[in-house]
Symmetry: C2
Subunit: 236 residues, 2 copies
DNA sequence: TCCTAGTTACGTACACCGTACGTAGTGCGC
DNA sequence: GCGCACTACGTACGGTGTACGTAACTAGGA
């Protein structure tokens, strides 16, 4: 591996092992799993080269034999969680199956709340992400549409899932870095928002708050939004 | 301001000036503008307390008189760009006006490519964001729907805008941190993707690539996606 | 079979980050 | 006019990513 100078390359194009030299102590999967474990338990910001190395039980700089840059570690992580997608043999109802895909993606992200922050098209090239994408396309086989439209639809569904999970979990993830608790945070922000809305500067917002529907069922909101999007892509 | 201990608070609830002591040399707007200038020119990762202080022309630690934590600096930045929204007196066609809102939001984000990364519900409380939200609600006055639905629609539109701009610009923003150029990055990733697709493991993806429609018009893709979403919320 | 080149392993070091804390100077409210 | 709350800011600490040097190891070619 070596290649100490900075050379443009994709981590997936690097062979895990070249034959020469002592055999590596860890696999790429080991490393990804360690990083994911840390991110799940202590948040994405706790994923540092040092912490991951410690979790693996090796020296910090040894990690760089496997992962040339930290960015590539993120890429490994995203691929590792993409591998958690459970795929199936698609039947005929593309709408129902895309719904199932979306629900699975949602629960995946809720299991790994740092995912929305790492969501990016540049991670869309990893093996398991490609596999996931291919599966989505397979689900869409019954849909009469050019591939361009299908890809747009898949991007839209993934976008909706990401957006909604982020909206749901972002405060929780963000508050990890803050020196106070989430309850204090939401309380303080809620009080300020209430004060602002009561100021009279935002009449419609005030009205919206007045007809308070109680606690919002995030699951239901997501389901509704997703259904609308899928309808939008259904042949009238 | 003092308040040196870590106390839960929203920056907007802190008075800019208390009367006692020497008058502050900078306003919140000055600081936000400096940070935005840096983020626009050198990327979000260049927005450090030191750099912002230098841009303002003051010592690093003086910044902490105005901004208790870096997170709050981000909040100032998001409010500053939210202030760039040009609002208008809404007429009667809510669909057309939400379309206009979305297009404006898109060009705003393209002007400040770091925005998608900072998009989060916790920044939704800032004065100018509330103003923007109120304006969206005003545009939706003609729509017969409970406020809950209206807010969901607005969230959806903002989500779509964010997702699409991110997809469009993320590589460009990300490559700033890399030691090589964007052209090299896209070339290397493109080559790898082509190799993977040609491997036969992803037949539908291969087919999709085969019917290559040439360069994609991002503007058109966005317009189409947005139209579909708005249709989904129109009374049948 | 031995040699050597390329690999793994990892400690040290550097530049940068956010920010706690101490200290000095300033000007409003009492 | 006194005192106190504020501004200003230098220093310092613990964290980060990672360049680089060095030692140990192992497979391929002679």
């Amino acid at each position: 591996m070596a290649v100490r100078g900075a050379v443009p390359e994709v981590i997936w194009a690097r062979p895990e092992r070249t034959g020469r030299g002592p055999r590596p102590a860890y696999s790429r999967d080991d490393i990804a799993a360690a990083a994911v474990r840390i991110a799940d338990a202590r948040g994405l910001d706790a994923v540092s080269m040092r912490h991951v190395a410690a979790e693996l039980g090796c020296g910090t700089m040894s990690l760089y034999n496997y992962v040339p840059r930290k960015e590539d570690l993120y890429e490994l992580m995203m691929d590792a969680v993409a591998a958690e997608h459970v795929l199936w043999e698609p039947g005929g109802d593309w709408r129902a199956e895309l719904m199932r895909v979306a629900h699975q993606a949602r629960s995946l992200m809720r299991r790994h709340p740092w995912m929305p922050r790492l969501m990016s098209p540049v991670y869309g090239f990893s093996p398991h992400t490609l596999r996931y994408l291919e599966h989505c396309l397979a689900c869409l086989d019954p849909l009469e549409a050019p591939y361009g439209t299908k890809l747009e639809l898949i991007a839209m569904v993934n976008g909706v899932v990401t957006t909604y999970v982020r909206n749901e979990l972002d405060t929780a993830e963000r508050v990890r870095a803050l020196p106070w608790s989430q309850d204090e945070e939401t309380a303080v922000r809620g009080a300020y928002l209430a004060r602002q809305v009561a100021s009279g500067k935002y009449p419609r917002l005030a009205e919206a708050f007045a007809q308070d529907p109680g606690p919002v069922d995030m699951e239901a909101v997501f389901e509704r939004a997703l259904g609308r999007v899928l309808d939008a892509y259904s042949p009238h």
